[in-house]
Amino acid sequence: MKRSHYNSLFRMIGLTAEFSPQRKPWVKANDRLSESRSGRDTIPLVAFILISLLLCLAPSAFAANWTPPATELARAIAGAAGPGTVVVTIANSSSLTKKETADILNLLYSQLRSSGIRLVSENANTDVDVTLSENLQGYLWVAKITQGNQTQVEMVSVPRTEAPAAPHSGPSMTIRKNLLWSQPIQILDAYVDNNRMVLLEANAVSTFSLNNGKWQRDQSLAITRSHNFPRDLRGLLVPAKDHIADAYLPGTVCNASVSGGIGVSCRDGDDPWPLGPRTALFNSGRNYFSGVLFPAVNKPSGPFYSLVSLPRQNYNLLLLTGVDGRVHLNDGANERILATSSTSDWGSDAAAIKSNCGNGTQILVTNAGDETATDSLRAYEIPDRDPVQVSAPIDFPGPVTALWTHGDSITAVAHNLRTGSYEAYSVSITCNQ
């Protein structure tokens, strides 16, 4: 943020702002300054009262969030200052926005008055320097209360709020994502079937129903297992006709059912995981498929992370993202490796998606990177030898940790780097005119 932007904002609301190379802008509430900050710009109390009135009239989406800590801090200040007059100086040295700072400022003054504090612009019994600070765990509002030679410090911790991520769309064939569910526990897979959502975690299968347009968890059915799962855990849900779903986890297969009492029955087993028209053995101690397919192919491609089936006129072309870092194309009889130059920015995960665009089936591919970077999905087609990108990327707020095809849509799970939550999205493709 440039200095001029801050100044114009604060001028707008009647405040002055200062900038130093090492500190964020300080917002002054009146013309009385503490000794350590002498020489900075000030505004009179009258202006502040006007500002407070103006701010009171303006609706504030965040005001409710800040009310409890503002009240707490105001009470603490009132308790320490006792009866009498008070000069309050406020500064922001946190990442709070200008709007949030103004909201807090307004609330704090209001709460101080409610607590019986008589605010004046000078010659007060007590000087209070309030700093909106920040630490690793959240915001920290600090009040330094000075009465003569006595100084007292009061602090209030305030949890940090999160802003929603901005969506992104591409210019041609458009990938769309719809957030299904977000939670701190890792989501391995999820799918929506009519008005029910099924979600897989390492230790549970959960079912959800729609309630006033929002998903509500109905059941959480515990998964029992006799061994530790590998790191970078993967899991796949497969809808079933006679029960809720089958859940495939490394070395474990579960059956979620409602008949005869809701529950999940699990057993140790290396049953092949259904991946479109084929099934594949998953390495129970790792994060990839062993390379063994059913029905088998003449020339196996080795261990892989993802398998995509692309329907062709008389056969299915298989695309595999190999553990060897290469992308393999296998038509069942022959195998070739896509040029590294055309796939060097591909991630490990790919899934097929049906659409009414192009040749009817696209491959969605994650982006190269690791777990510390944000991710994106792009759509490709393979009309001839090399893949052709047919959509702009759609961004995710963190690495995509799961990408599975479910019918005509894809489920993508992203690990939001900012919030730490796992977010399950339903991904689809629409055709642009």
Binding site: S36, S93, N228, P230, Y288, T340, G369
Partner: protein
Amino acid sequence: MKRTACRLLAISSAALWLVPAAPARTRPRYGDTVRADTQIVVMSGDTTPDALVGTVFETLVTVDDSGNLQPSLATTWISSNNATRWEFTLRSGVTFHDSTPFNPAAVVRCLSKPSNSGWRVRAGNDSVIFEFDNPQPNLSTLLSLPQYAITSLTADGNRVGTGPFELDHRNGPQFVLKAFDNYWAGRPFLDSVELLTSRSAHDQTSDFSLDRADAVEVAPDQLRRSQQDHLRLAISRPSETLFLIADPAKAGLQDPKLRQAIALAIDRAALHNVIFQHQGDIAAGVLPNWLDGYEFLFNSAPDLARARQLRMEVGQVTTLTIGYDPHDPAGRLIAERIALNARDIGLTLQAVPASGDLRLRYLDLPSLDPTAALYKLLDQVDIASPMNAASTYPVERDALATYLAIPLVHLPRAVALKDRVRNWTSSPGGDWHFDNLWLAPRPHPEVRP
């Protein structure tokens, strides 16, 4: 931390002949060995070095990158009786590296050391119970510190842990760790880690240049140069603090007024701007502001008038020495600058490449929890602090008022990484985590049918 001036030249040249980028993938790849160098010194008799906590050894609770306590070997914990009784429920399905079971008895054996005499610890069914005579509201936090790692003694006298890697062997300063297949949170991606400790900056440079190391440390005073050379760097928040430690047993320094006078004479901004080239932050507190949020309450600006007044009140003082690490090229410059500042208040300080009456000491942030970090840091500089303080602010304020440890600058910790290294997730405090690390495969030659 030791410093070397010329190491970046060699590291930069190494970057010029880095192998082409490996095929990019997002999914972690299993296998391979990562080689990392550090200047951390591990004594030959130290069987549970702090540097291996989190990797080989684990604590009951841990602190995440947001500074919040998280379950580790304990899944839940609860305090009662005004925090004089704590019960930690232990994780099931955990074994030590030698396959002995991790259970309450093992934890009690480990934590009943004489140095932990402040508590009475006993085993429950699936838990351990700590009892105190006085309230200990910070116990769960403090148990995240490396000194409380849970270990087991094998029949041949070795210490084993429960972490994602087990110690395969130690060859002097080199620790060879191998993946623990039965790790409760999943086997790590790497097969092994070769950690070379006590490695000088010069040797780290050579190792990186000759592709003998995948990760080496970069000193703060060399960071700007590394960035300009486009080295791949992982830089922490300012988490290593340079302190000036005063020995109160030395003549003259027994008087806190003299220590305060020295503190008020130091121009920290000059150290920060000139020697560390604006890397990190000027330090006023023991903990950096990004961790505690209140460091700004402490003063770091020089006050020569007050310093001179205090100096005069002390009276005659003989020449004092300020010691620095002779292997740290920045050390001499820092010591000489402080000596220059002291001269302005009529005090003669002599910089010496050894232990002095005052000495420069770099200390890493030991935890991302302010309470645990402060407790451990003050312990390291021999300032007693209560374990059960309700708030860190008054403890830190009182510790700073002794002027026994004068914080000068908070510095970032940086690591230069090879291109193959993925998921290098050093914490905001700069700690290394190997459990989620993986290496990309070396590039394949282009194959055309």
